[in-house]
Symmetry: C2
Subunit: 402 residues, 2 copies
């Protein structure tokens, strides 16, 4: 119901952005971005659950506590993770520098980083970069901003919607990076979302948490949860719609749907751009006893190196899929489980069928492949997105030297 628009993060009213080359990335490409709202925005964010959470994550968690934000400062090339007290100091300085130049409070500035773990931030380059980015802030700056958050991503990930809400026209836009690394030290997923909708922070947080649950949290490339993962949304209210101040507000459902749809699109793009990926895999588990159980089964399949290499080899190796279902840790009756790849039913109630081999090999040769596992154990349907495991994955992560 939402029409995807090829507009940037600055599409919603009142947002500008910039991306500059600060010399942090060895490649010399854009590596510092600033996203700015001309008015203070309500905000929501979710962060990595990794205990080794990077310094910028910790600083941004404090920003979230206030419920408002007005800018996001991001760098690629250095993760500022495992950097101790110095790292916290550097992340705070990034917020301070941006806040001072933008004449806003440092408590309204999110900080995010992605890159090598364990390396202290090159703060001279970073602060110069922030200065230049603030100078360059413009509605046209969205394209460079999304480039500046990329690492080994092979394409930019960006989407926008425009839709009526409470009699007004509302815009929402998001960018993401992920499944690549400027240096192969972590799998980092970052996403930033802007909207001119008026949504109160606590409601925005509920909506974001719900959206992330079925989008970004359903993606796996290699099973490695990064130290720097972060999704943040800024809602500046400039669309003038009636403030959505509770989940029972008449306009909440439509806003939630837009946000979830946007996050789902970006999450799928992250899986599609998985390091070395040649296949985009959608793993749907039907009739699961619960969302959590279905996700556990889907993730076991999605993360299995044996399944991932089979898809790379275009081999419909259903034994590996059932094997992963069997060790997922959910009590199930093997004799009830069915399996489809694309439209071809391969397993019916635990036993292999006499399927159309030519048809199945044709499906396995495609880039986008859907796997449907029916557990016949409940009523929940759960979808996870992933990719295959290729020589290129080993190359990207094995040949690169720190």
């Amino acid at each position: 119901m939402f029409t995807p628009m090829q507009e940037s993060i600055t599409f919603p009213q009142g947002f500008t952005a910039a991306g500059v080359k600060a010399g942090v990335k060895k490649s010399g490409k854009e590596d510092v971005a600033v996203i700015y709202s001309t008015v203070q925005a309500q905000t929501a964010a979710v962060f990595t659950t990794n205990l080794m959470a990077a310094a910028p994550v910790k600083v941004s968690q404090n920003v979230l506590a206030s419920g408002t934000a007005q800018a996001i400062v991001v760098n690629s090339g250095c993760a500022n993770a495992c950097t101790g007290e110095q790292g916290i100091k550097d992340a705070k300085q990034m917020a301070d520098v941006a806040a001072s130049l933008l004449h806003i409070s440092a408590e309204d500035v999110f900080v995010a980083s992605t890159g090598v773990i364990g390396v202290v931030m090159p703060m001279e380059k970073i602060t110069q970069g922030i200065g230049e980015a603030v100078k360059n802030l413009a509605v046209s700056g969205g394209e460079l901003a999304v480039k500046a958050i990329m690492t080994t991503d092979t394409f930019t990930k960006s989407l926008a919607y425009e839709f009526p809400l409470g009699g007004k026209t509302v815009r929402i836009a998001g960018i993401a990076k992920g499944a690549g690394m400027i240096q192969p030290n972590l799998a980092t997923m970052l996403s930033f979302i802007t909207t001119d909708a008026a949504v109160a922070a606590p409601v925005l947080q509920q909506a974001l948490t719900a959206a992330v649950k079925t989008s970004f949290n359903m993606v796996t490339v290699d099973g490695d949860t990064s130290t720097n993962d972060m999704v943040a949304v800024l809602a500046n209210g400039l669309a003038g719609n009636s403030l959505i101040d509770s989940t029972t507000h008449a306009d909440f459902a439509i806003f939630q749907e837009a946000l979830t749809s946007l996050c789902t699109y970006l999450a799928k793009q992250v899986a599609r751009d998985g390091e070395g990926a040649t296949k985009f895999l959608e793993l749907m588990v039907q009739h699961a006893p619960s969302f959590a159980a279905g996700k556990q089964v889907a993730m076991a399949i999605a993360k299995s190196p044996l399944v991932k290499t089979a898809f790379f080899g275009q081999d419909p190796n259903w034994g590996r899929i059932l094997c992963a279902v069997g060790y997922a840790g959910i009590p199930l009756d093997p004799a009830k489980i069915s399996l489809k790849i694309g439209e071809v039913k391969i397993v019916e109630k635990g036993l292999g069928t006499h399927y159309d081999e030519a048809k199945l090999h044709q499906i396995m040769a495609e880039t986008d492949i859907q796997v449907v596992v029916d557990l016949a154990a409940g009523s929940e349907t759960v979808t996870v997105w992933s990719c295959d495991f290729s020589y290129e994955y080993v190359k990207i992560n094995g040949e690169y030297h720190t």
Copy 2:
């Protein structure tokens, strides 16, 4: 304290074995083995926890229930998993055929299979193979038996000890296969152990469970738990030692130590022969709050594709190791964690050190590498064995077509 001997599974008194070419494997190599004790033996076994447990696993679980066994029938080339009622019938027939030829009870015959999932057993070939194997049973048959259980293993895994026990000389021998697949449908680990020690079945089971906990259960190649895993031990008592009928028996501790030592050797051999492996990794977690917590942390590191590809690339990428520690799911203080690769301390209390780079690169170039993570959170030390992730792994599991 136990001196490894290059003797086969028939080294303990009263055991014979055979391995024959029955035509199940496409390669035409040995694929049916029989291991036989001239007298009924006390037995213990552990099986896969995969819900999709193969038919031979289910049949062997019934054998274990009686506490005695006298023979083991194994085939490679077909896993007899996800084969429904027909599979159970076929596995039972394997036991029946062997029992009838050996003039023993079918309830004393373990059955094990490894190979492709979802394919019905070629029973004509199998029964002919069992017939031939029984005819060939000999003390000299151990070498062919271990070959007949191999799939993509690149070397045979076998070990024996001889040691004094209660005034007698006792022998114990074991073979294992694993980390390879005749067809890339499952990661199957099988191990069979013979001993002429006199040990009562319940005590033997306790000893085996304890031995497996710190040996086979501490190995991961790709994190995929097979449908056919099985470790079985036959103790025929022909050494004439005083029957070990309780864990408080004076000779129990030494028998346990021999069994654990044997299992640990075989388990490490399985990791060393991991598909496509170029490195053997020993991951030691020190000062863990508990065995389970330490294992969870060690397994998170051992299973991380990012860590495994880094070792393949000989890159001391410590950020990836700490990242895996951080998402292992154990509450820990990142600021207390230290890390060594070989003798080089790389992380001290959460922060990177200025280590000797030349020395570390030399360690990373070796085949056997030890990683030591100190959690400073308790008193448990836990060791897991694994291998790296190479192009060859993707080739073995991606290029082979079912």
